[in-house]
Structures are given as C-alpha cells and as structure tokens.
C-alpha cells in the first residue's frame, strides 16, 4: 500500500512537471507570430480542406507567420460567446452571419482594405453599418430559397417555377405525398433547424407596416400568426417527415439526395453534404412563395471571416485576410462552399446549383430579403423561434400560444 501511494505521488510529480512545461495558446514568442483562426468547421469539411491548402501557401511565403486553423464542434456559437465574455478572443474567426450585429464591436473594420471596392453590394444591408463599415471578408454571398430534389419534382410533374403562392406549394406537397415522397423534411434534433422554417416564411408573411412596427418595438401578431398557421396546416396534412424529432441535418440531406424528400428549408451549403451521399443527385433551389406578394429569396452574410481589433498580430491577420481575398483564392473558397463569391471580382463554380442561380438569381427578378430575425427581431429571439416552431411541427403546441410566447419574449428582449 505504501508503495502504491509512493507511485501515485511520483506519477503526479512527473505529470505536473510535464504539464507545467507544456502550453498551448497563441503566444508570439520565438519569432513567428502564431495566429488562431476559429473556423467553426468540422474536421473533414471540404471548406476546411480548401482553407488549409491556402493557408499552407500563405505560410510558405510568410515564414514569420503561423496560422492555426481550429476545427470546431456544434458548440461553436456558445464557445465564441464564452470567449468574448472572457476577453479571450481569437485572432481571426468565422462570423456565421453575425459580423455586424453580434461581433462588430470586437472586429477590425475592413472597408479600407484594397479589395473592399469589390465587396458584393448585395451584402451591404446585412454586413455594413450606417457609416459604411463592414467587419468580415465575405467568402460567399448567401442566397437561399427552398432546396428541392429536381428528379422528384419532375417525376411528379411539378415545375418549381410555378410554385409562387403557398396554396401552389401545398397542392404540390399533397401531390408528392400521394406519390410516396415526404414533402418537407426538417430536424427537431438540431436545435436551429425549425427556426429556419419560420425565418424563411416570415419575410413574406409579415407585411411592411408590421415590419416597421417590429423595429420600433411593437409586435403585431398578425404576420407571425400567418407563419405558424402555415406550418400547422402542413403538420396537420402530414407533410413533415415522421422522424422530425430524431433526424439530424445530415439525415435530411441524405433523404433529399436519395429522393425520399422533396423540399427542405435550409441554406444552399447543405447541397455539398447531400452530394457527399449521392454524388449525382440533381438538386436545386427556388424562390420562397410569399403570403403578401411576389416570391423572394432570402440571404445575406454566409461564410465570412473577421479579424479581432485587439489581436496582438493584427497586421499579420489582415495580411492573411488580404491573401484570402485575392480573386483566385476567394473563388476557390466560394466553390468549396457552393456559393456565389462575396467579392465581385471572383468567380466560383456553383456545380449543381448553377442552373438555379441562372434562372432565379442572375436575372435579378426576385428580391433578396435579409434574414427576418437578424433585421426585425432583437438578439436572442432565435431560440424562441426554434422552440415554438418545433412545438407546432410536433403538434405539441398550438399557434395562438406559440405566437403569444414569441410576443412575450420579443417584449422582454426588446426592452434589454
């Protein structure tokens, strides 16, 4: 027994010496500046692979800079909140749609960089402040509609361009259900997905005067009731996937790629994931039908990267961002994302989504609305949107009580 305690003490001492000598972090000692880049991407994400190749190229010409591309889990958003609250801020990080509203106080303005003149004007409403400053390099311009399986719709004789009202959409869903396809797939397990459905519909369901009221802090329930009424009508008609509560986003993209699902309300980046399951799947997207007029697309900031204004290595970080902003590099990044480049002088390969882009985006006939929650709802409303929509999809809560919950939370958060 005595020897056991001695062994434990020796082991502890050795461990403490070992651990005392080791330290991670982003220190700048030893000559080379070590930059931390929080990518928010999974380890084997194709976008991370593209970024890694580019970073190696940058490091080969900048021997004094070393960039640590950190992959992250699905706790990325929480991790960033904790780090900002604790003043442990990475040098560069992915802003996941929030460069202006959430992160701009912590980020260096980039509108004076040489490439800023090529900033895609379509991103201005979402990424620029009133002084014309923007705070992240946009790798792509997020343009989203309802993602669909082309073959499934063609087999059912449905032309997505004709789905201009929610009645058209419901009729198509009924037809698809009869054909044995799940009309709409959504995820209750991934705690963001259901919010997307409400967000996509709300831009067209909430009218202009209601939107003006929201900005002033008045929540008129009419528009949001329309949103959840629609969701409830689909739920009652059985248009949602039966495994809503347990399905992950990966399950949905797989189902879409296999032709078991017709529509999903999500951004285009999931197409890359779907093609990972079925490489020759025929997918596209179409404008969202409106409750108050013309169909529209939603969008704004997609993948974008900002530099901390308090970084010890700000100059090197900005140099790296300038490198990523070179047309060739940005084009490659946007291609890996499967999106339209965030800078006008870059070109990307949109792959299977090229046809949808040519038909619905390029002509400029469909308006591009910003994401509803980012413009009209106070910060923190997203979780309520997700839980209330999930409640309606599962049939666990009614429209009136869900809208009441949204209204109550709006009042609380707007006051803050």
């Amino acid at each position: 027994m005595k020897s056991l305690w001695k062994a434990a003490a020796a082991l502890t001492a050795i461990g403490l010496v070992l651990t005392g000598c080791s330290a991670g972090g982003t220190g700048g000692s030893g000559g080379a500046a070590k930059l931390e880049f929080q990518t928010g991407l999974a380890t084997s994400d194709p976008i991370l692979k593209t970024l890694t190749t580019m970073t190696q190229k940058f490091e080969s010409t900048h021997k004094d800079v070393s960039i640590n591309l950190v992959p992250m889990t699905n706790t990325y958003e929480a991790d960033m909140k904790v780090r900002l609250a604790s003043s442990d801020i990475p040098d560069i990080w992915a802003t996941h749609g929030w460069s202006l509203l959430r992160y701009s106080d912590f980020l260096e303005p980039l509108n004076k960089r040489s490439w800023a003149k090529n900033f895609n004007p379509a991103l201005a409403p979402a990424m620029e402040n009133k002084s014309g400053e923007f705070f992240a390099l946009p790798a792509d311009t997020d343009v989203a509609g309802i993602v669909y399986n082309k073959k499934v719709l063609a087999d059912a004789g449905i032309d997505p361009a004709t789905l201009t009202t929610w009645d058209d959409f419901a009729a198509a869903a009924a037809k698809l259900k009869t054909a044995g396809v799940t009309p709409i797939s959504a995820s209750g397990k991934d705690s963001w997905f259901a919010g997307n459905i409400a967000d996509f519909i709300a831009s067209g369901a909430v009218n202009k005067s209601e939107k003006a009221g929201l900005i002033k802090g008045d929540f008129a329930s009419g528009g949001y009731t329309k949103v959840l009424d629609l969701v409830q009508s689909w739920q009652k008609a059985g248009y949602f996937n039966a495994d809503f509560s347990s399905a992950t986003t990966d399950d949905l993209t797989r189902s879409l790629a296999q032709g078991k699902t017709a529509f999903i309300f999500v951004q285009n980046y999931v197409v890359a994931s779907a093609l990972g399951f079925v490489p020759d799947a025929e997918l596209g997207y179409f404008p969202i039908p409106s409750a108050n007029g013309k169909p529209y697309l939603v969008g704004g900031e997609g993948h974008a990267y900002g530099v901390s204004k308090t970084s010890k290595h700000k100059d090197q970080a900005l140099e790296y961002i300038d490198f990523l902003a070179q047309p060739d590099n940005l084009g490659k990044l946007a291609s890996a994302i499967g999106g339209i480049p965030g800078l006008t002088n870059a070109k990307s390969d949109l792959g299977v989504l090229q046809a949808s882009y040519e038909k619905f985006v390029k002509p400029g006939t469909f308006p591009l609305d910003p994401y509803f929650d980012r413009v009209y709802l106070p910060n923190g409303m997203w979780d309520t949107m997700v839980t209330t929509t999930s409640g309606v999809v599962t049939g666990q809560s009614g429209v009136t009580e869900s809208v009441g919950q949204v209204k109550k939370q709006f009042g609380t958060l707007y006051g803050q």
């Binding site: 991670g24 999974a42 380890t43 889990t73 990966d250």
Partner: protein, 273 residues
C-alpha cells in the same frame, strides 16, 4: 426442472444485457467501415469490401492518437491528485466532528450539486487570466476541482466506518497523527481508493462539457472533444467520428483486459471482513 428453467432465464437475461451493451459498438463498427456514399442500413456490414479511409481520416485529420495520449495524461495525473487530496481532506472531516468541520463537509458535498456549466463563464475567465486555457495543467485543475467533492465524500464516509480503536492503539504505541494517517489509516483505504479511482477516472476520461471549451487546440484536446469535431452544425462525418471512437476504445479495453484481475480485486476488497 425449475432450477434448470431458472438458469436458462438468467442466461437469457444476461445474453440480452450483453447484446444491449454491444449494439452501440456494432453500429459504430459498421458505420466506420463504410464510405459516405454507402447508403445501406447501419445494421449491415459493407458488401463491397471494407473501407478503411475513415480510420485514416480519424488519425491524420482528427489527431485521435494524440487525443488518446492527452486523455491518458490528464486522467492519470488528475486521478492521482484527487485520491491524495481527497484522502487528506476527508481524514480530519471524518475524525473531528466539530461544528466547523461539519459545515465544511456539508459545503464540500454541496458542491457536487452545482452543474459545471453554470459556472462556465467565470471559470473560463479565471483560467484565461491564469494562462490555463489550452494547457494540460488548466484541464487537470478543472478535473480535480470538479471531482474532488465526490472523492472527499466517499473517503470520509469510509473512514467513519473504520474502527477508531486501531488509530487509538497506534497513538498509544507512540505514533504521531501524521504517522497514524500515513501508516495506519491509508493502508486501510484500499477498497474505497479503488472505487474513487474507477469513478473519477471514468468521468475524467469521458469528460466533454468543460473540456470542449477549455481544450480547443488540437494539440491538447482530449478524446471526447476531438471526436465531436467531426460533428458540426453544417455537416458531419459520422464514419470518421465512429472510427475515432473505436480507436479511442482500444487502449481502455487493453488496460482493462490486462488489469481486470486488479479491478475485480479492488472492487471486492471491501467485502472481506
């Protein structure tokens, strides 16, 4: 006849329990051996040959071997410190039941009830100011602090059950308090030490909630946060995640197979009276 039926029932029950325990490993194995494009059921093994690229991805991109080393280091050092500090703390609390000690004991045990995530931001800020983020010692401090209350509770409860006459005899023979503690009490703590080692080392080995925030750099990440980097909100690589999980099970399995005699001995040591 009835006895034979009973035996069969027990055997069947055990078989069901074994199957239930092994199902997750089976699914992990089938998932890890298939490419993403193999859309067959997860209950089936791949029909077109084994696909080992997921294991390669887990090792080269996910750095799972490094993570296993990190987990082993943090678990061994933390567990040793927890046993030592737990026993030292518990002794006076168990033997000197003054009002002050009772309050201290209640306060320590009360800490078990605090969910670690509820103190995340202040804990993270403090550790950041101390330079402990992304370091082994930072993770070890957190593991020790979060597991110590349970260890103190277990040691104190066990020490109270030991006959005080042995310590009194040692004192009569001229042993000081320190000698009594190290030479008389500690040798009797073998059974509870085995329990503490098993409970705390398993918790630390599997810890995720705090490690994912404190150990972000791939150089120091432990197993659970490393596996989770294959699962992001925008897209996941479940094949590689399953492969990484299976690789990380191997050292634990080997350790158990080699040491199972000691494990079982440690678990039943307290039963011998």
């Amino acid at each position: 006849m009835t006895r034979r039926l009973g035996r069969w029932a027990i055997a069947l029950g055990l078989l069901i329990m074994v199957v239930v325990q092994l199902v997750p490993f089976y699914v992990a194995l089938t998932t890890s051996l298939k490419p993403r494009t193999d859309l067959s059921s997860q209950w089936l093994f791949p029909t077109s040959g084994l696909y080992l690229a997921n294991f390669q991805t887990a090792i080269t991109d996910g750095h799972i071997l490094r993570a296993i080393g990190n987990s082993a280091l943090i678990t061994v050092v933390s567990t040793a410190i927890i046993c030592l500090l737990g026993a030292l703390t518990a002794y006076p609390l168990a033997r000197r039941t003054t009002l002050g000690n009772r309050v201290v004991f209640s306060a320590i045990v009360g800490l078990i009830m605090i969910p670690p995530l509820s103190i995340l931001v202040p804990l993270y800020s403090l550790l950041n100011q101390l330079g402990g983020i992304n370091t082994y010692w930072g993770a070890i401090v957190i593991m020790v602090v979060t597991q110590l209350p349970l260890s103190v509770f277990l040691y104190a409860a066990f020490m109270r059950s030991l006959p005080i006459a042995i310590e009194e005899a040692a004192t009569v023979d001229g042993a000081s308090t320190t000698q009594t503690l190290f030479q008389v009490v500690f040798p009797m703590l073998k059974p509870v030490t085995a329990t503490v080692i098993i409970l705390t080392s398993v918790s630390i080995w599997n810890e995720y909630a705090l490690s994912v925030f404190v150990l972000r750099s791939p150089d120091v990440r432990t197993i659970a946060p490393t596996i989770s980097t294959f699962v992001a909100s925008q897209g996941s690589n479940l094949g590689a995640a399953a492969a990484a999980a299976l690789i990380s099970v191997v050292p634990v399995l080997l350790a158990y197979l080699v040491l199972q005699r000691y494990f079982i001995k440690g678990m039943v040591a307290g039963a011998e009276k």
